[in-house]
Amino acid sequence: MIRAVGARLGGMALTLLLGSVIVFLLLNALPGDPALVMLGLDATPDAVVRLHHQLGLDLPLPLRYLRWAGGLLTLHLGTSLTYAVPVSQLLADRLRITLPLAGITLLLSVAIGLPVGVAAAARQGRVSDTAIMVAAQLFKAIPDFWGGVLLILLFALVLHWLPSGGFPGWEPSPLAALRALVLPALALALPQAAILARFMRSATLGALSEDFVRTARAKGLGTQAALWRHAVPNALVPVITLVGIQFPLLLTGTIIVETVFDLPGLGRLVLEAIDQRDLPVVQDIVLLLVGLVVLVNVAVDLAALRLDPRLGGERRA
């Protein structure tokens, strides 16, 4: 297990290094001069040159990359061009919304999707199974923002249970802040849960047809015990991997949902920063997102390895 963790952390570092090179090249090859955006179109060439120098944009590309990457390693993230505050502070502020949002979404989608999938599998072929799967198909088909709007309509404008948008901040009342995140998280989580439920159902059905489930029944286990102790742990292995694969989609989903629900999170920040050609901010956020995705996938890998030790690769001949 320790070896497996080490290997994955090594892989993670390598992915981040490659990711940083790609992110840097992509963004710095993008058309649009930040200096022109900052100074306005009628800026004098002189002023543009001075700003280029000030921003380090006149240096050769490799040197600019090294300055950026070196800064990341020493946690000096540079300064936002438009907000004129350290990027680290900007990120910290925004992450306080986006991280809980992504976390709650992930939890909700797993907590809804997996039990629903298992329940449908256990009722295979019955009306309730079909109903669950039709509902899942529907939720899967609803785009995040649309689902979000529907949820706002229902819970905020009709039922008045939850706020329709905006974020009161964590300080005055953590509960109010949490309440502000429930609808956006649900809007994001439901389509994800639907995908997980469908996948969990077929994985559970596959596991239920395995011989070892019959062995368990022949020992005298009931259907429920055989389902939960034998079929589900085996079905979880591929489903957990899917959670990792889906995570980037979830992150991009936060960008849209933060806009719909008017949440000042990372997603909103990245949209604004791209609009403003605020390169330092965009670069750092994109790399941060890459880092999050890699981290979640390492966690998912390790969880799958715990569930199914055969994945460790040490097999008997």
Partner: protein
């Protein structure tokens, strides 16, 4: 010898649309305490369905009728709760595929202990200790495998031994082996089967063995039941069957050249021309008529009943083979 298992008029019915078909049709036999019965027949004759009907794990959509009496209690009439109490405890089963019959994500000790906890209500510590002892007994001592070992670390033969330990855990009165160990190589298969036979004899368990292997049938089973297309076509002491087969199907199965005592272990059933008719394509007459060399017009209207053809030897054929 007192009777342990008595199967009477056991039929298994499936439905397709408005049609019905029988996977087993009025099959009957008895097995004494500590007795051994071999069930033979080509692929698709309903051998596995018979085993699953006995242990009560038929697939959905297969309905059983008739009686399966264990110690006088008709299992088919029991509610599922009571039926479950017999699984593992009174009737246990070992399966063919050692690679797939164990849960790949669970250590073997836990898989052995699980039945003990579920059926005997043992606590964790006691179940674990018994599982450890069972693994020792089936030839997986501490040096070879620990209770924490995962199935993928074991060879096919070792996994088969784990399956034996699981089946024997609660000391059942009847063990069903469905083509047990046939997925293994010859040498390993012989070892595992020797172990199984030894343990069954030691615990005075009855054994119902489904096999394609006539050598094994001769070695292990006192009696034999020949199934064809869901029907019992011949039943006899194994020795009598090897001496003289009465049903043309059994004769075909054994092959003309085969004689009692000359069968090496691992001899496979020779093939007979044609195929077993699938459940929905079985007519009213003798189910073997379409492939039989001895067929006469009177074979066609209805299924011949089983009748005596020697001491404890019964055959369902109007024109049985007569040996000189």
């Amino acid at each position: 010898m007192s009777v342990l298992l008595e199967v009477e008029g056991l039929s298994l019915r499936v439905r397709r649309g408005a049609e019905y078909a029988y996977l087993l049709e009025r099959v009957g036999f008895a097995l004494e305490v500590g007795g051994t019965l071999g069930v033979v027949g080509e692929s698709g004759c309903g051998k596995s369905m018979l085993a699953l009907a006995l242990i009560g794990l038929l697939p959905r959509g297969v309905a059983a009728s008739g009686a399966v009496r264990l110690d006088g209690t008709d299992l088919l009439a029991l509610p599922e709760r009571a039926r479950r109490a017999t699984r593992g405890r009174r009737i246990a089963m070992v399966f063919q595929e050692p690679m797939r019959a164990l849960n790949p994500t669970q250590p073997i000790g836990r898989q052995v202990a699980e039945g003990l906890r579920a059926q005997l209500g043992l606590g964790r510590a006691e179940a674990d200790a018994r599982a450890r002892a069972l693994l020792d007994r089936v030839g997986l001592p501490a040096g070879v495998a620990s209770p924490h070992t995962l199935p993928h670390r074991l060879s096919g033969g070792q996994r088969q031994r784990v399956l034996i330990a699981i089946a024997l855990a609660c000391e059942p009165a009847l063990l069903i082996a469905d083509e047990f160990s046939t997925a293994l190589d010859m040498g390993t298969q012989a070892q595992v089967l020797a172990l199984l036979a030894e343990l069954v004899a030691e615990r005075r368990m009855a054994l119902l063995m489904i096999t394609h292997d006539l050598g094994l049938l001769a070695q292990v089973c006192a009696r034999a039941l020949v199934l064809y297309a869901g029907r019992a076509v011949e039943a006899a002491p194994t020795a009598a069957l090897f001496a003289a087969r009465r049903h043309p199907y059994t004769e075909g199965l054994f092959g003309c050249s085969l004689h009692a005592g000359h069968t090496a272990p691992g001899t496979r059933l020779p093939t007979i021309r044609g195929q077993v008719p699938p459940p929905f394509a079985r007519g009213p007459g003798c189910c073997f008529a379409g492939r039989c060399g001895r067929v006469e017009p009177d074979c066609l209207p209805e299924q011949p009943p089983l009748h005596a053809a020697g001491p404890a030897h019964r055959v369902a054929c109007l024109h049985p083979v007569v040996t000189v």
